[in-house]
Each structure stands twice: as structure tokens, then as C-alpha cells.
Symmetry: C2
Subunit: 148 residues, 2 copies
């Protein structure tokens, strides 16, 4: 399985917004942190806006900020807001209907896939943005220790 990197980028963006604690942050600034293009960030922010995770103002002096506290944002929400609904892919071509297996395998697979994805999201829901921030700071501290 492979995701797009949108989820990783989204968490990164939200972490920066959390770090900035309510200040409005521009897409250019975020793009610089993620090391990508502002347009990519803006497209991402549109998804996060729809999910009510961020608020964005237009015009001069504009930018984005979290619309909730980091404790109230969990990874499952972020994942759902940013990734395609369909997680598992089925072959493009229809299976051979004459085959007793091919005839009915698709819906059975669908149930298996759905259950697996639900399990994954339930796990993601356990981690909040605040947890991520804490872990990031801990990592950075370790890095400092190694350097010194």
C-alpha cells in the first residue's frame, strides 16, 4: 500500500500552525518549511478548511491558523480530510464473470478492505496533534544532546 504524501504534508503544516499558536501563517511560509510550492500548500489547506481544521483569511496580511486547539485535532481527522476515500484498489478490468470466484470476489474484498481501513483510522484517532508536537519537541531535544 502506498499513500500520497499529502497526509505527511498535512501533519507538517498543522504542526507549524500549532507551533505558531494562532498567528496567521502564509502559504509561502508553510511551503518553505515543507520545502514545496505555495500552491501545493494552498490546495492542501483547502482540504483542511473543508474539514474545519484550519481557518484561512484572504487579502493583505492574510494566512491560516488552526481552528481548534491541538488537543482536539486527531490524526484520523487529518487523514480523512486529506486522503482519497478509496484506500484499497481493485483491478481496473472486471474479473471474468464466468469464473465462480471472479463473479463474486469483489464485494467480499470490499468488506475486508473497509474493516481494515476502519481499524487503521481507529488507531490514528488515538494520536492528537498535541501528541505529535510533544514527540517532535522530544526528538529535537535528543538531537541537541547528540550535537552537544
Amino acid at each position: 500500500m502506498r499513500t500520497s504524501c499529502r497526509f505527511a504534508m498535512a501533519v507538517h503544516v498543522l504542526a507549524v500552525l500549532a507551533y505558531k499558536e494562532g498567528d496567521r501563517v502564509t502559504s509561502a511560509f508553510l511551503a518553505n518549511s515543507v520545502n514545496t510550492n505555495p500552491v501545493i500548500i494552498r490546495r492542501l489547506l483547502l482540504s483542511l478548511q473543508k474539514a474545519r481544521l484550519v481557518e484561512t483569511c484572504k487579502g493583505a496580511g492574510a494566512g491560516s491558523r488552526l481552528s481548534r486547539s491541538p488537543q482536539r485535532i486527531n490524526m484520523a481527522e487529518v487523514y480523512r480530510s486529506v486522503e482519497a476515500v478509496e484506500s484499497f484498489a481493485t483491478p481496473a478490468r472486471k474479473p471474468n464473470a464466468a469464473c465462480p470466484v471472479g463473479h463474486c470476489i469483489k464485494e467480499t474484498l470490499g468488506r475486508v478492505f473497509e474493516s481494515a481501513q476502519t481499524a487503521m483510522e481507529r488507531d490514528l484517532a488515538k494520536t492528537t496533534l498535541a501528541d505529535v508536537m510533544k514527540a517532535v519537541q522530544a526528538s529535537c531535544d535528543c538531537g541537541k544532546k547528540r550535537d552537544s
Copy 2:
């Protein structure tokens, strides 16, 4: 998130092998059921061989069969044998090291991803190939009822 359709194809292939109950089945036959090319099936079978899920004989009158009973094959094994190890993608470009978030976010994300994937595989492990066969047959029965 989006998977390749290799997992779906693999389950389909294994289901056909289970249906054939130990008979050697050729890649051409499997390809016809999945409605794809024999080479695709052979590439898939190589992965399944490595995972000791199927046995393949070469030469005339050759083909593949399950190396265990369907009750002893679960979806997590199939998934792992066939999908890439890395499930979640991180951006191709390195985040900006000067950004306090970008500097350390990657390993934190890695842990979140790993946990989520483990949760998913644990769920997949609950379903065996035998369960899938049962569900497929039930689906087909329902179809028959609708038709009559």
C-alpha cells in the same frame, strides 16, 4: 491512501487456487479469471511463493497450488507478501531543516504511520482465505436468489 491492486489480485488468485483444491492451475487460467495477462499473474505468484503461500511447478503440465489449507492463510500474510513495505509516503523533498518543526517531524510521523499500519494488519489477520471463500459463496447464493 491508495493501494496497488496487487492485493486484490492476490486474494483473487488464492481464492481460485482454493477453489481448485490442490489441482495445479496455470497462470493462463488464473489470468483469464482475473482478466489480466499471464505475466502479471506470474509476477504475483513469485511474491506468493516467497511467502510460502503457493507452490509452483515448471515445465509441461505445471502450475500452482496452495501450500497450506485456506484456514491457515490470513489476509495479513497475503497483504505483506504482495504490497510494498512502506505504506505511507513522505514528501520527496527533505523538509526545511531550519524550521523547528520540519527538522524533526519525520521520525514522529514514522511512528504514527507504523502504528496505524500495524493496526490495519492486525485486522487483516482476522480474516482467513477460508472465510473469504465462505463469503464469496454466500454472495453468489444471494445473486442466484435475485436472479430467480
